[in-house]
């Protein structure tokens, strides 16, 4: 949704940068968890 709210320049303000960082960290955790579960 951040991409939609900031189109077309995608210049994120501080709040949006913090939200994007939180979402990406969460995604990384989920990918890591999937790796552990599926590739063990």
């Amino acid at each position: 949704m951040i991409l939609r709210e900031t189109a077309p320049t995608h210049e994120l303000d501080e709040r949006q940068k913090a939200e994007a960082a939180r979402l990406l960290e969460n995604l990384e955790r989920q990918v890591s968890s999937l790796k552990q579960e599926m590739l063990r």
Binding site: M1, L3, R4, E5, A7, P8, T9
Partner: protein, 392 residues
């Protein structure tokens, strides 16, 4: 990314400001995007379907609760989700209109209203809009009198758009409904551009039926919509089946013929449900949408020769403009002809204008942030200046 053979992932709303007049209010919320992935399988909402085996009675996911919430939100007594607003028109027309019956429409009515009337065998009787492209209660009264003279009876139904698709003008629905009710004509409120974008109170406006479009104004996947009505009319339009098979003796419980049993299932329904809390909240802030719209309108009006064909100041974000005296003049000599305009806007990250259109065109600012509205305003002015058009 590809979704399948030849199907590219669509990124229009991620890469551009989308001003397509019919797409603005239907852009999905994040929750709806998640919901359509989770409930994409065909009969996904039927996992927990129990007696009485009807879609609007399913408790998990909370479909039954959603139906009640939507009816209450519109201040009506009953609601059903439909595969698009047009299916709402169709259900009502099929219930009330018989062959040769006059039905009140307007000169700005959407074509699907005509088709619904045609499908039921009715005759379209249009209330003419005035020179400001507004449909008035006086014009409605005059048309009903004309119909009575011609058909020997009043129309059996009126279908009136609160905001029309051509100009995005806000018509006096409540006034027209009051007139229609004086002749005992039930009135269907077409809220394709209002239900989900601005507050709608069925009792206050005097609607017998409210039809909304999920994919046009409720941040929902297509095809989706809503038909809401009063307790009195619900017995008629949401009547239950009475048919029996002559060999098997089968009956079909409480299925509703106008809805062909269960209507909106799976991803479309759950997408609507997921967006609903966001939609309920956003209608409270329509004033902010008009502020953003004004930013863009003022920029367009600063380009000499540009005219606004919709009512002004704007009361809705869908707007029709005439740039015959500005952007179209450039098209006369530009090597890309009229295509220069949408092409230049595309290059600036704006999507949704009909390619080649430089005379009369529509756009919609609904759902933009203020920053995006300012960006769009600046983009229009920049395209004008880059092409030598005078800007005030």
């Amino acid at each position: 990314m590809k979704c399948g053979n030849g199907i590219e992932a669509r990124q229009v709303n991620e890469l551009f400001i989308n001003v397509d007049p019919i797409q603005a209010g239907g852009r999905l919320t994040g929750d709806a995007i998640k919901a359509i992935i989770a409930y994409g399988d065909g009969y996904s909402v039927c996992d927990n379907c129990r007696k009485p085996n009807r879609l609007d009675c399913i408790a998990k996911p909370p479909i039954a609760e959603f139906h009640k919430d939507v009816a209450a939100w519109l201040n009506m007594d009953a609601a059903r989700m439909m595969p698009g607003a047009r299916r709402g028109f169709q259900a009502v027309a099929h219930t009330y209109v018989s062959k040769g019956n006059p039905v009140l429409l307007t000169s700005l009515s959407h074509y699907t209203e005509f088709l619904a009337v045609e499908g039921a065998g009715g005759v379209a009787c249009e209330i003419p809009a005035d020179s400001n492209h507004l449909v008035t209660p006086d014009a409605a009264a005059a048309k009903i009198e004309e119909v009575k003279q011609k058909f020997g009876k009043a129309p059996v139904l009126a279908i009136i758009d609160h905001v029309d698709y051509q100009y995005g003008n806000l018509h006096d629905f409540a006034g027209i409904a009051k007139v229609a009710h004086q002749y005992d004509v039930p009135v269907l409120y077409n809220g394709a551009y209002t239900v989900g974008t601005m507050p709608v109170d069925g009792k206050v406006i005097g609607a017998d039926f409210i039809v909304g479009s999920g994919h046009k104004s409720m941040a929902s996947p297509a095809p989706s919509g809503v038909l809401a009505t009063t307790a009195e009319r619900a017995k008629e339009v949401f009547r239950t089946t009475g048919i029996t098979g002559d060999v098997t003796g089968r009956k079909f419980g409480i299925k509703e013929p106008e809805l062909m049993g269960c209507t909106l299932m799976g991803a479309t329904l759950v997408g609507m449900m997921a967006s609903f809390p966001h939609v309920k909240e956003r209608v409270k802030h329509f004033d902010k949408e008009l502020v953003n719209n004004r930013i863009v309108m003022e920029a367009l009006l600063s380009i000499e020769g540009t005219k606004i064909l919709s009512e002004y100041p704007r009361k809705h974000t869908l707007t029709r403009v005439d740039t015959t005296g500005s952007f179209d003049k450039v098209a006369e000599t530009h090597k890309k002809k009229g295509f220069y305009f949408s092409s230049a806007l595309n290059d600036k990250g704006i999507f949704g204008l009909i390619p080649g259109a430089t005379r009369v065109w529509k756009f919609n600012t609904y759902g933009m942030t203020e920053k995006q509205a300012r960006y769009l305003a600046d983009a229009f002015v920049a395209v004008a200046q880059e092409n030598g058009l005078p800007v005030k």
